[in-house]
Amino acid sequence: MDLHTLSTLHSIFREVQQKQDWKVALDTLFVSLRDTFVFDNVAVFLENPKDKSREVVYARAVGRGKTAEADAVWGDSVASEAIARDTMVLSQPAQPLKKTTGRLNLACLLGFPLHIGAKLSGALVFVRFGGPQYTPLHIELASLQAFWAAALIERRDLQQARAELDSVQRQMRLQDDFVSTISHELRTPLGFIKGYSTSLLREDTTWDEATRREFLNIIDEEADRLTRLIEDMLESARLQSKTLQFKFSPIRVDALMRDVATRIGARHAGLKVNFDFQPLPPIRGDGTRMAQVFENLFNNALKYAPNSEIRIVTEATDDKVRIVFADGGEGISAEYLPFIFERFYRVPGERTVTGTGLGLYICKQIVMAHHGNIWVESVLGEGTTFVIELPVSSTL
């Protein structure tokens, strides 16, 4: 083989293999060799492994057949023969061709069986209208292209199989994670209830009054945590499956926020809230659900930034209302911020505070059901700020 041929082949090989899409790769393959091997039509037939029916999966009319459309010969019978005999089939008219008429009726056909993997799976047919007849060089090149086409189709099959496998695996992993997180979250409070109650039930030892009270308090708190966890899980499952019904009506989020603050303040004497309210236009929303979002933010602030003042700012733009909810607590490290709205996510090291990892997930789902947005900003040592933006609908 001379250097020129070798480098031509090399560049064709590289160009064809680089094409990710198998049809584009086949186009590239046929076009790049067309200088040496001229044909008018090419078609790839593949057998459906299920019912053995044969279908055309790739066809190009590049020469004289371009305008003939469906009337031209596509070599269906040659394909059948190539598959049936599992060998190359050459079919060309014996008599010399006249250049005048009926060119499309005088087709020179060259068919190859296609082996994909180890299986005979289809055929590739070249069609040349009105000659010239195929020379041994043409046949050799055509054979190379057929072989290559089979490899490209096999690559497509493998890519598809891998994509399907990846997707199945991802689904399974998500399900696994979900099940293992749920079972861990449920077992944790259950483990405390079981452990501390059986400690109190021990007959071989006695506990002093302070310890008994401490253990009973833990049992009580963990039972509450279990209840809350189950409620939150049901709620998040409803949000996830979109079966939670929202009742939309015009609401004023600033008034709603004040109500929630008053309600929480009645339960927590130490709650300090600093309001900086710009009057907000009413929006379309579900008041009960939005109140739930605000309650969650208050509860988080009470848990993670105890004793810090909460600053709430409301602002209105042309088409949005914005609620800024800032605490002056310890803040959240930047590496954890991207995950805090994920279901069951809890910032590591926060285990001393009870929680389910569902609160902010529920908040985000509710805000998104309002076509709004919620995000978090935090600086370690300075505090955490949640921002909620809700659209102001023109039709309330």
């Binding site: 944790t188 483990g191 452990g195 833990i218 590591p348 285990r351």
Partner: protein, 233 residues
Amino acid sequence: MPKRILIVDDEPRYLRLLEANLRTEGYEVSTAQDGMQALDVFSTQPIDLVLLDVMMPRLDGFGVCQRLREFSTVPIVILTARGEEQDRVRGLDLGADDYLVKPFSATELLARVRAVLRRARPPVETATGQARFFIHGDLKIDFARAEVWRGEDPVSLSATEYRLLLQFTHHVGKILTSEDLLGSVWGAEYKNDKEILWVSIARLRQKLENDPHAPSHIVTRSGLGYLMPPIEE
């Protein structure tokens, strides 16, 4: 002398639960809230038993179990919140003596602790017996942290290189055949892949030896295998 038990759990309420119950039985208690802390506590105090949670930040219970077993025979009881068989099997395979699935009752916990302590053999005092550190000339290994130094310089080893090195430190003075090393580090299906071992030993020598062509830590015994020669006192 009262037995000292190390409890490792990231939930303070589990630490409190275990500690309160163990103290009623007269045990001394040390605590750690993550795997790395557990290894540090273990190497500074005499510990008779480790109660080890699985799901922990930094280094999980399986990791702690694996590291401890590289230099210690201390009894280990795994506390797992997951009841899956594969978790229990994994813990036992990594060298745990028993496991307890959360939720568990206080009396069952105490019974398991008594049983495991009863079965426990007295600690073995050999060259690498309970020692956290291994020293061979200028080579130093901290088994608890899986760290290796050459003199003052930390050496970075791949997981396979570290496992290969441990084969030698655990059998100082003994010739190990290629089949032994390939089988225990790479697995039985690699027993005939001598070339993999050659490449790995060459790389290990590059990292550990002052003169890789005249090695002092991993020496070739032509036709027999490799060994880490005993250090003359």
